[in-house]
């Protein structure tokens, strides 16, 4: 649902920071390794170029930066979201399974919420114009 996140007021996630760290790790790994391998560990003469010929190390540094950052983005997103989680109580609802991923909008209130109370919460949701309210077992 477009604009929902803004409406609820989600503003911050640690994800960009994680991706930045991933990218920096990739850049440092790639550049450092190329420097070490070509200039320290086994310096060999290629066409008379300097051993530490840093411009030639840039392409691989760039590639690994992108690679590490992408891994950080994907795995960071999945793990921050607490996935994979094949079992979740909301799937116990028939209506959820039928509509949630295609054309429905659901609001889930968990019992761990301090303001949760079975009757008042149900009443509140119905009062707000919900088409259907249902309790889902753990």
């Amino acid at each position: 649902m477009d604009g929902l996140a803004e409406a609820i007021g989600f503003k911050k996630t640690r994800l960009p920071l994680i991706i930045l760290c991933g990218g920096l790790t990739g850049a440092c790994t790639a550049f450092g390794f190329q420097y070490w391998a070509s200039a320290v560990y086994y310096p060999y003469n290629i066409g008379g170029r300097p051993f530490f010929s840093w411009p030639a190390f840039i392409p691989i540094t760039f590639e690994l930066t992108v690679l590490f950052a992408s891994f950080a983005a994907v795995f960071g997103m999945i793990l921050l979201n607490g996935l994979p989680k094949p079992y979740h109580p909301v799937f116990n609802s028939e209506r959820f399974a039928k509509h949630a991923t295609s054309d429905g909008f659901f609001l889930s209130v968990e019992t761990s919420d301090p303001k949760f109370d079975m009757e008042t919460t149900c009443a509140l949701l119905s009062g707000l114009g919900a088409t259907h309210v249902e309790a889902v077992a753990q």
Binding site: Y42, Y44, N45, P84, K85, P86, Y87, F91, N92, S93, E94, F96, A97, K98
Partner: protein, 218 residues
């Protein structure tokens, strides 16, 4: 029934992920171990030859010099495998009836060489020359191990590129005086690094060229 997976699937997923990561690491470790093991390198694995020739007996026991049999080691790329005649120079006189030596006598009679299985070999794309190594002060033992203690001959070292490079990168750690090349008992002196540098200089070993690709891959 909308729930597809049972509740324990959540934990199962974590176990599965851990298993994949650990399994990959384990597999990598095992493959590395196998690659370094004598099963692949054939280091220290004796081969069954037509005649169970013992360097231990001939070199250590009788004191025969390496060059008595491997005649071309100082002058040619190939150290040389002795012709049957070299064996027969002694064995026409001693152990003339030994059953073990029957293939040698047969070879001598028929003029068909003994078929030794090669123990020390480098890949075809490696250019290796014995004479340059011997003349610059690389001892036999350095590459072949204590051959004088091998009842059956086996590879003394892996003969892999990384192993070659140890010496090609720092020959001063391994060189010995040319007079000691065939000495099986020589031990490096305490000041080998200083002495070695002197040997490098006196023998005109061009260290800066030793790791060029084309030195070995021509």
């Amino acid at each position: 029934m909308a729930q597809i997976f049972p509740k324990k699937a959540n934990d199962l997923v974590k176990v599965l992920a851990a298993a994949v990561v650990l399994g990959a690491c384990g597999l990598g470790t095992m493959a590395t171990g196998l690659w370094l093991s004598p099963f692949i390198t054939q280091q220290d694995v004796a081969k069954q030859q037509v005649v169970p020739f013992s360097h231990l007996h001939h070199v250590k026991g009788l004191g025969i010099d390496c060059r008595y049999c491997h005649t071309t080691v100082e002058t040619s790329s190939f150290a040389g495998i002795p012709p049957t005649e070299t064996c027969m120079s002694c064995h026409s006189q001693i152990w003339t009836n030994a059953k073990m030596l029957e293939p040698v006598r047969a070879s001598f009679k028929t003029q068909k060489p003994l078929e030794w299985l090669r123990v020390n070999d480098v890949p075809d794309f490696v250019y290796f020359n014995h004479s340059i190594h011997v003349n610059k002060g690389v001892g036999c033992v350095t590459c072949h191990g204590q051959v004088d203690e091998m009842a059956l001959t086996h590879k003394g070292q892996t003969l892999r590129m990384g192993w070659c490079l140890q010496c090609h990168r720092a020959p001063e750690q391994f060189l010995r005086p040319p007079s000691e090349v065939f000495n099986m008992q020589w031990q490096p002196p305490a000041d080998q690094s200083a002495k070695g540098l002197e040997l490098v200089k006196n023998n005109h070993v061009k260290v800066e060229q030793l790791t060029n690709c084309s030195v070995c891959h021509r």
